[in-house]
């Protein structure tokens, strides 16, 4: 099973819609224990991505993702700039020159992005950041690649389930990274906006690629298209 560059572009375009639509909602979630800028920061970058994506020179997946990383570095402030910029950049490095990627290659891109984000921000699994969604997704992809799974729809659905589940399973945790960590115990019982964003994006991808799936966490249900 190979994933075409066109599908990756479609996923990015869908992501931009998700993020821009939730500009204020994601910021409201960030305001519960953080500083209320997450949605705005991300949307600032993805508005540019949405507009530029059709026109940019994108000979291959790696070049396309590198360009996205540069847009994020120029336009996204806050922690989200370095986190998402690093993610795109690290994924770009291992997809240089490819116009389609295998499932194993996709798993490698996500894995490299996750490693890069962990190195940049120092967060671990359980610190109540978007890594709590991304790390299990990465493991699921690695396993799927190793097992030679071919049903991409089922795999996407299962990744979305994982991320969506992370919203509820991390809700009661105290944040250890980001601004939310500086309010101490008060971050418990608030959802992490980064995890909500990842879960919403994956759920919106399901819809975009014709995979049936209903959101579970209330925040994700509220945020999906």
């Amino acid at each position: 099973m190979a994933i075409s560059q066109a599908n990756i572009e479609k996923a990015i375009d869908t992501t931009a819609d998700t993020v821009v639509r939730n500009e204020l909602y994601f910021s409201d979630l960030d305001g519960l224990a953080g500083d209320g800028d997450f949605g705005i920061s991300l949307a600032t970058g993805f508005k540019v991505i949405k507009k530029d994506l059709p026109e940019i020179d994108k000979p291959d997946v790696g070049a396309m993702l590198l360009k996205l990383s540069m847009i994020v570095s120029k336009h996204v402030g806050g922690s989200s700039g370095p986190i998402w910029g690093t993610g795109f950049m690290k994924a770009a490095l291992v997809s240089k020159g490819k116009t389609e990627v295998s499932l194993a290659e996709l798993a490698g891109m996500v894995g490299n992005a996750v490693d890069g984000i962990m190195a940049r921000g120092g967060a671990q699994l359980g610190d109540k950041t978007l890594l709590d969604a991304l790390i299990p997704v990465r493991e699921r992809l690695d396993a799927a690649a190793a097992a030679g799974e071919t049903d991409m729809g089922a795999l996407l659905k299962s990744c979305a389930d994982i991320a969506d589940g992370a919203v509820d399973s991390t809700r009661s945790l105290v944040a250890h990274r980001g601004r939310a960590s500086q309010v101490g115990a008060r971050s418990a019982d608030t959802p992490d906006p980064g995890i909500v964003a990842i879960a919403t994006i994956l759920t919106d991808w399901c819809k975009a690629f014709g995979v049936e799936r209903a959101a579970v966490a209330p925040e994700v249900a509220k945020a999906v298209a």
Binding site: D35, K74, G77, S80, G81, P82, R177, G178, R179, A180
Partner: protein, 331 residues
Amino acid sequence: MKKFVNDPANFVPEFMAGVLAANPDLLEGNLEFQMIKRKDGPRADKVSVVQGSGSGHEPAHVMAVGPGMLDGACQGPVFAAPPVDACYETIKALATPAGVLVLVNNYQGDRMAWDTAVEIAQAEDIVVDQFIINDDVAVQDSLYTVGRRGVAGNFFVMKCCGAAAEEGQSLAQVKAVAEKVNANVRTMGLALTSCIPPAKGTPIFEIGDDEMEVGVGIHGEPGRERAKIKPADEITEMLFAAVADDLPFTSGDRVALMVNGLGGTPPAELYVLYNKAAALCEARGLTVARNYVGEYCTAIEMAGCSITLLKLDDEIEKYLAAPAQTACRIF
């Protein structure tokens, strides 16, 4: 939204354009990267001191640029660290053989952005080093968190580093000044209201008419606890004890005392707080050699305050007394 704003997406470049328009002889900038620098720098023989963080803390950070203070600064959107590119362009614009010192307030977003920018600059052989400011006693420090925030004490680090750099000290020496000041400064803040980032358009948190947030930072993030509002003197006692006990300051010390407004608190109220804080210093045997009452580091229009104590020695006092000039002026 009770704000003077056009398109919220242009708020930061528009206000920076205003700062540049008001200070044509002192400052110049590159608004593509939300950057402002001294017009007369960088100089080959002088260390450049730079900073950059979210907007909404004015006069920090771009309004702290000028002789004797910062050589340059860049701003992100309101309360969001500047994008990596802005940090990189700021370092590049102030690069000099004497080196660039980046003063980073300890927020994860700022740190990640500056870390990345410094890495890129160093790869291009720009001489640059960083220092992390973390004066906020409200945050419980621990191995597992990002640690104490940098808040109003930042002013003293900028002022002293700016003066030391102006004197012609080396990059290592200016960084040592930052270390010394940061090691001797403590701050604690408190908010009575939330605030409204222009792009968000609504308050970051809800708070009752009789409530206050204790131990807030400068980004409208909630504090460590919510409590019933108290008389000004009790609030001052609480904040003062938190900072004075932390270092600890001891009888006989000379100190600088800052009562900083978070944006929405009028000067008269800050002087009510100062009046009590000065008395508390005296009661502890601390001599207030210099005082600072006003807005030094704000959270847009949040009603609130912070109290900062800086332990002085002859060197720090000399730097504090050195002349400086920024976009903030009265006459």
